[in-house]
Amino acid sequence: MPWCKQGTTDKLVREFLRTGAAARNKMMKNWGVIGGIAAAMAAGVYVLWGPISDRRKKRKGMVPGLLNLGNTCFMNSLLQGLAACPSFIRWLEDFTSQNSADRERTERETQLSRSLMQLLKALSSHDPGEDDVLDAGGLLEALRLYRWHISSFEEQDAHELFHVLTSSLEEEQERQPRVAHLFDMQTLEKSVESKEKNISCRSGGPLHPIPSLWRTRHPFHGRLTSYMACKRCEQQSPVHYDSFDSLSLSIPSIQWGRPVTLDQCLQHFISSETIKEVECENCTKQQAGELVNGEVLESQRTTFVKQLKLGKRLTWSKEGSPIKRQEHVQFTEYLSLDRYKHCSAAQSQQKTSRTNKAKASADPKDKAIANGVDSEHCNNNKPQSNGTFPSVFLHSPGLSSQLNLTYDYSTSEYLFRLTAVLVHHGDMHSGHFITYRRCPAAPRGTSPFSSQWLWVSDDSVRKASLQEVLSSSAYLLFYERMQRPGLRVEE
């Protein structure tokens, strides 16, 4: 239910944005012209007086920026965020290489994935490329082919574009036919070559390679489980699995003065809620024909999340007009989702013990916060504290992040690392998107992640500290799951 509610709110907000866009169009054009002139003057100055040696020096550890094609900061920031996710780029490489092998498909059908692949490759390359600033016009053109009309001077939503990209990529993937037609001799002969000894079919022939829809989803794909339980007779419905590409979390109303943490948003998302007016089949049977509307309890839990993207700052005020929530949500570089893994009813006792753990960690949190406030004045290197850290660390000021990483790394099975943050500056009607992202990792490095952070605003790129990243007001958060050392690589 929270998912549906968020979806509805999301649509309403988008409609409002589109309605107000026409009025802003005229204003934006003038600003575009002035901005263009200013940019030309700045470029001229830079060309005349910028030394060449300085240019090469600045390029180390940087990524190319993206040209603003007219209020396209939302697209530029999203592309920078996607480029910071190695698993997505890896998946896209497999996707495009698989498409290129298929001759029957025309190039037009895979234009979006190929242009996206080129852009993300350039944005995620460690070696300095030829260009300091890239152009996303090709991707914009490919999006228009998917009937996503983008006027050049209209502000758009980065979250909406994310869904357009994921659904368009899925659409390109699904264009491969699932049933071989009667004159498809190539597919028929291909199945003869692949002889799988461990599978045998009644028709007698060797089986063909199966469609890969069960496995080859994009890395942002995750699954939600939900079930309903009757409060009266405790009858539980089958566990229902749903798919999601991103989680839209609402900011819960917390007491004044207390900081809101990402964990609190997640727990608010998966909290149970009471639904009335639902008839329980078991109660109907037990009541011997009497129809009683029993109250049922719905519980949602995230499970098996490969990659997680969070963000939602828009809400509705009591007067009905949309306002932007300005509260700062604390988030961390590492996110553990072990608590949110779905467990069956047979493990309810373990669930209770985990709840106790959560409660235990809540009590020392007050002390930690007080301690943190004190330590902020004398030690700026202390990491931000929130509920995910075990209580043992909250009483040890001065602990380094390396030790913290080691501890979480060994105990947490569903550990996610922050890869990018999209920040929106401004209010409901206008603003600007920027991205905090990691540097591309060195090719020879053991880890696909770099510890250096960058601040990217269209074509401006500079280094940023982790402290600056964690203190920003996040609009979209990109987390990627970490692999445990020694764990075999997933097929």
Binding site: L188, N198, S200, C201, G204, P206, R215, Y241, S344, A346
Partner: protein
Amino acid sequence: MRKDVRILLVGEPKVGKTSLIMSLVSEEFPDEVPPRAEEITIPADVTPERVPTHIVDYSEAEQSDEQLYQEITKANVICIVYSVNNKKSIEKVTSHWIPLINERTDKDSRVPLILVGNKSDLVEHSSMETILPIMNQYSEIETCVECSAKNLKNISELFYYAQKAVLHPTGPLYSPEEKEMKPSCIKALTRIFKISDLDNDGILNDNELNFFQRTCFNIPLAPQALEDVKNVVRKNMTDGVKDNGLTLKGFLFLHTLFIQRGRHETTWTVLRRFGYDDDLELTQEYLFPLFKIPPDCTTELNHNAYLFLQSVFDKHDKDRDCALSPDELKDLFKVFPYMPWGPDVNNTVCTNEQGWITYQGYLSQWTLTTYLDVQRCLEYLGYLGYSIIQEQESQAAAITVTRNKRIDLQKKQTQRSVFRCNVLGARGCGKSGFLQAFLGRNLVRQKRIREDHKSYYAISTTYVYGQEKYLLLHEVLPDVEFLSEADLACDVVCLVYDISNPRSFEYCAKVYKKHFMDSKTPCVIIAAKSDLHEARQYYSLSPLDFCRKHKLHPPQLFTCNTTEAPSKDLYTKLTTMAMYPHMTQADLKNSTFWLRASVGATVFAVLGFAMYKALLKQR
């Protein structure tokens, strides 16, 4: 087509049933598993076949035998899990699980089985040598899969084949023992071939193959693919390709090849596109699409339907004589499960000298079926593959529902093309002759009609003001004491009497006075057998006086004792009266109008005279 799939996993304890389910949904091996996984519902967009899937686990420790029996009954497919490194669990498949499932499932409803060998990572050799004889022994086993929940090997394949066993079963199509397609599958594919053979030459040429490809798979066909297909067929059989086209044998061979290669979903896609269900019968949704007819409306074929039926006629009229011989008619209805037209059809529509149905008679019979029984017409068009050939949603696209008759009467015009005329009269007065004369048969030809081939309907076309209209004559049995509502509902009524029989007109007069005197339906008195000597009728009024009294047309003389085909003028008049029923009542309106005008003028004159008198007195 099935809406969802329910998969049940059974097997000995500790073989890994729960681990398989958890490995599927989490895509990683669970180190810790409960005794039984909760029932899982997976949405359609995640599964390969786009079908919602329910996966049910079984635990001997947690569930009773009764619960197991219920789950077996509810399941669409059952996966029997064994451990490849545990011989006892393999033996239990045949000694315990298969007999239990066969005992608990209805033999008519076929439940496919999947044999799942788990923990394949623990052994080096495959257990297929032991399992394959089991699969050959039990026909309900669809697939055998060896997998490993720990290595995530063949987990997706396992559940995909479980889905496929439900959605695309092998059983109805193919017999592995004989290595041939089953007769019901051959019959269905033969009908599909015949429908797709648009020129009825026994060969699917390149145009027909492209049409078939576009219809079934919605994918453009490359010319090279066509050549590859023909080369494969040529390589394997001598008479599969002929005149650079695919014969029925080649068509069936291709399907057999796809089924043998495990690609039977291709054949199922073709069958379902042509309206077949999992039992290889045409579905009710295909044959009888939803179709609503408001009251007082009739059903007719539209222009596209007539064009389609014309093409079907041309397809089977091999000798181009504009008539269907008995062999050609049988060939046309080969795609039907039964012969829909009996010998009475030859006495319902126009035929040629040899008694064969002509092109006009053929279309007339279709028009009659649509008018009288539209559901049967939809069924017939379904057998012919109308919605497939015409690329329509269903056969309902071939039917036009006419406007309510009351609106037609109000607006004094109609768009209808088919008009019904009920023919009433005493026994032996010549009603059947009246119907047969409409088909162009004189008395000599009528005497050759066998009694058991008699028809109570006749339908043909007439031209009214240059437009072609269908007139449907229906002979009403005079034995019934009371005429039914259907007998009275028509566009025009014919009351037939024999001029040589003194008692014949009495029946017509009684029927008219009882049922039609107060109705708006136009009536015509037919004086049949006018070639005979006229006898004075016993009725109080002579027929001419009766018509004059009730403002009917004078009796129309009719005889079928002619040297050539009887004249159609009378039938044209009947159709005109059916098309314009308000014209017969216009006379009444005219007389009433003049009467009222005269009374008004008289009153006005009297008032004027009185006024004149009053004015004179004042002077």
